[in-house]
Symmetry: C2
Subunit: 574 residues, 2 copies
């Protein structure tokens, strides 16, 4: 029986991305010299050690035992509570929270990378961290001083955890259908009544309190999503002196039996005259919730990268040890990693994961530099692309990791199937791929006639041209492939913009268009890495591997841009 | 909570495929008039009724409870044993078995379709049927009269079931590493000692006996796969008068805890001086086993079609009922099936499933006409393409079926996740996709320099040309797209053949090449269907749907041929 190898955080990749790949020290640039790439890499390495020793060993119990609902309360799998306490004590919750909220305010390029590491080592655990961080941002943006004092400080310290309460049985993608009702009590608090479902970490025993951020309708509010307001509702009520009082009237009715992420309790919550407090403006709930939602969407790309890389590491370790049959053109005893198709699968995974990681860092860096002209708009353009594309790619990557194992991959004890199951939720939650693609096509391409897309294409084209002009044969080839893909992407964008008057045509191919952009952007990341390797002028083994990875990506993944461009041109077929 | 809709067998599709799509009555042609398409459709409809009423209702218990090992014996989930008895009584085992073995000898185009139906309604159950049928073929080809009398008759009657014992802990893909030893006892029987793993339906309580077909090494046999011989070893020994005697020395050591097909017991069997009988020639075991293996590989394509269609049916039913938000350009209250991207997912699934089903029928028809010049070679060419491509497509289709359900798809009670889990084994067992692609590239393309592939391309090109020449705008567009894809496929084949002197280049892109051929052949099936619809000259709703499906396939799936051709050209990247 094979066992999963220890988790190894991709410290070298982050060092390369922070310091070299983009032609500058990302940290030094965005923090004005307060931090350098080297400082950030130290944080990544420390997180990797913590994740490997504390979080990764709990992934199996999280999957096999899972969270359980016992007498109305959720019990986490053994070890999760202790791990959470150590996580808080080590300062990992506070590290990422913004300084305005009392946190250490790590730049996004670093906190995003931490997200990869927590998710790779234990995706079910990481969801708690991710939701708490998202709620911190939402409260930091909109909460009153009193709410900040009572709730935000406890979230930032990690003493309490946060959740996002949107979905109801008849209100999933369509938030306008939310029926949970909040009625003012006249004492500053609100009475909340309704049913919320799919509430991740909606109840658990790892922290003394849980803060729910709840979207609800108020009496006489406008119809639809514009009538929603945002409330904070704690699991345990907080006394005026900050001590904990009675349980709030929030009941965990059930937890879901899911395909994956079993360690993460997915709760059905019943609000029955529960006490809540308004966050921000009345009827301004959607905007407040979207602060949290957008943070979650960006974070999802790193969850996708993390789960994918964990699956890849397990496949690579198995392939390096397992021997089976003679390997074509290789000495006797060569492990299966030498078989041409196993090598193809491993290269496919690793080149795709680098592309996801690098694009994630690029988008986080754009967000860190949002005050620079154009950077904020580019970040917003990329968020749906990154979330949609990376989470879809993770499905293939985790599937390929099973394939490398052959029949052993299908046996649950091998452990690799868990990643395949865990990954399947990612293209669904925090907005399905279709929702991402509608955001992309509707708000970010059709609305400006493709102008922002063209800004991206011009940047990609510049990198492609730079490579195509070199005499290095691999780099030249990468540049030529990328240049052709940019042209196909421009045609696809023009085709899409031409559908503006018949929007069903545009939205019938919006997911293919999103995948096209993600695939192209991934190749651009590899092209930038290639430029950086050439600039360095060395020829280390790692440099050669980066060039081979870029070569592989542009030969195996990038050509899909041409196929997708043909699909986009077709519009709706019905 | 949603529930799965009743299973509905694709009777109309088979009527179209048998009678019209290929321009002739396939049954009348291959049986010399003994059967007609209409007769075959009656069989399909009856099987569909049986499957819907008896097999499909057991799929959930098969998944949730699964097969269990209790005191050394496997207990099937409740209802499986009874269903098996009804399956036998209804004559479904005997129907497919060749007449030479005492069966009804249904043509392969019909038995293949039955395979789709059994697998769609209950894939775990269907594996028992498939393995028994495969063993019937193997024994019919090689067993002595005595073994035929004792074992084959009982398999054909359905009283006993069959298994395939190849894999050992160190011998998966590499059968040459098999160490199970068979020693002659001098009385005509052999003593078998060894460990076999991954034995599907290796033990169960639905039939009074189980016949294991075992690959083993004999003393002084040549090294590797050429030293293997084939043996029959029954679970219960058979007395000279045909009555059942004592248990054979075969122990079920464990059953696997798998990602899917939980209702199918996957056994570790220990042979400890077990009694076996030689089948066919000493050291001729691999050839005998390959009769069975090739039957299983063709059957796998129909398992892929069946599981995919079941998942699609559930997604389509959910999408037709679930309402969520306003649908662009459609009246209020339109269910989510009207959302452009849900429509895309459903069309993607259904057009791909039709392509898989039709190509499966085409290949079965070639096998039915194997005495016609060239037909056998074409069937052999297509078998690995069909197995590899269809089982890989099934991963995406079952994934898309989850996506249509949104968050509900991730909840196990919804039932659609089962298909995603069940499907994951298909690209692995009966030879991984890499093994299929090595067979295709090594034996069927490089060996004849691409001549058989060109025979296929010429046929596809003729159909494409026929459509491109019409004035019907949809048909014309389909023909033009297909013609371009044929040209790309010819270039890819030439590139592959040029790698003959550097075989690692060829085998590094053999899976992309296999997927290219499967995708192209799927489009060819849609093109033939389009020709048949135009020939009929009607304009029924179903005809319009067939044209739209062909249009969709050639816009969304076929363009991947161009991407894959670029990948094939790249050869090995390392």
């Amino acid at each position: 029986m094979t066992t999963a190898p220890p988790y190894r955080a991709p410290v070298e990749d982050y060092a390369f991305l922070y310091g070299e790949a983009f032609g500058r020290d990302l940290l030094e640039h965005s923090t004005g010299g307060a931090l350098t790439a080297s400082d950030a890499v130290d944080v990544i390495a420390a997180a990797g050690d913590f994740a490997a020793s504390v979080l990764a060993p709990l992934e199996t119990v999280g999957d096999r035992v899972g969270a359980q609902l016992i007498d109305g309360d959720v019990r986490l799998p053994d070890g999760f509570g202790d791990a959470y306490r150590r996580f808080v004590e080590a300062g990992w919750v506070t590290a990422e929270a913004p300084e305005s909220a009392g946190g250490d305010g790590l730049p996004r390029v670093v906190s995003a990378a931490l997200g990869e590491i927590w998710n790779a080592s234990n995706a079910a655990f990481a969801l708690c961290w991710g939701l708490t961080q998202g709620q911190i941002l939402a409260l930091d943006a909109a909460a009153s001083p009193a709410l900040r004092e009572t709730y935000l400080t406890k979230l930032v310290s990690g003493e309490w955890t946060g959740t996002m309460n949107l979905t109801e049985p008849d209100a999933g993608t369509d938030l306008g259908a939310i029926r949970t009702l909040a009625t003012p009590r006249g004492d500053g608090s609100w009475s909340i009544r309704g049913q919320k479902i799919f509430i991740t970490w909606g109840d658990h025993d790892a922290a003394e309190n849980i803060v729910h951020l709840v979207l609800a309708r108020t009496p006489d509010a406008p119809e639809g999503a514009r009538g929603l307001s945002l409330f904070v509702a704690p699991r345990v009520l907080v006394n005026a002196d900050g001590t904990l009082g009675e349980r709030n009237a929030i009941t965990t009715v059930a937890i879901e039996h899911k395909l994956g992420i079993h360690g993460s309790p997915t709760c059905q919550l019943a609000y029955d005259d529960a006490t809540g407090y308004l966050v921000g403006e009345l009827h301004g709930g959607l905007a407040g919730m979207f602060v949290m939602m957008n943070a979650e969407r960006s974070a999802m790309a790193f969850q996708a990268t993390g789960i994918s890389d964990r699956a890849r590491q397990q496949a690579a370790a198995y392939a390096a040890e397992r021997r089976q049959g003679p390997v074509l053109g290789r000495p006797a005893g060569t492990p299966i990693a030498g078989h041409p198709d196993v090598q193809r699968l491993l290269s496919s995974m690793s080149s795709d994961i680098f592309a996801m990681r690098a694009l994630g860092v690029h988008v986080a860096d754009l967000a860190d530099r949002a005050d620079e002209p154009g950077a904020g708009a580019l970040a917003e353009f990329f968020v749906p692309v990154l979330k949609g594309w990376a989470t879809e790619e993770a499905l293939r990557i985790t599937s390929d990791a099973i394939q490398v194992h052959g029949g052993m991959g299908f046996i649950e004890e091998t452990g690799v199937a868990q990643h395949y199951r865990d990954a399947r939720i990612m293209p669904i939650y925090e907005g399905t791929t279709a929702i991402q693609s509608n955001d992309l096509v509707g708000r970010k391409v059709l609305r400006d006639g493709g102008a922002t897309a063209e800004t991206v294409f011009a940047q990609v084209s510049a990198t492609a041209g730079q490579l195509a002009a070199t005499e290095h044969p691999t780099a030249h080839r990468i540049g030529v492939r990328l240049q052709r893909a940019v042209e196909a992407s421009r045609r696809a964008t023009a085709d899409l913009v031409a559908f503006a008057a018949s929007p069903r045509d545009a939205f019938a191919v919006s997911v293919p268009y999103l995948m096209l952009l993600g695939t192209l952007a991934g190749a651009w990341m590899h092209a930038l890495a290639t430029v950086a390797v050439l600039r360095r002028g060395e020829a280390s083994e790692q440099d050669a591997a980066r060039l081979a990875s870029a070569d592989f990506y542009t030969a195996h993944h990038l050509p899909r841009v041409h196929a997708l461009a043909e699909t986009v041109a077709a519009g709706e077929i019905a």
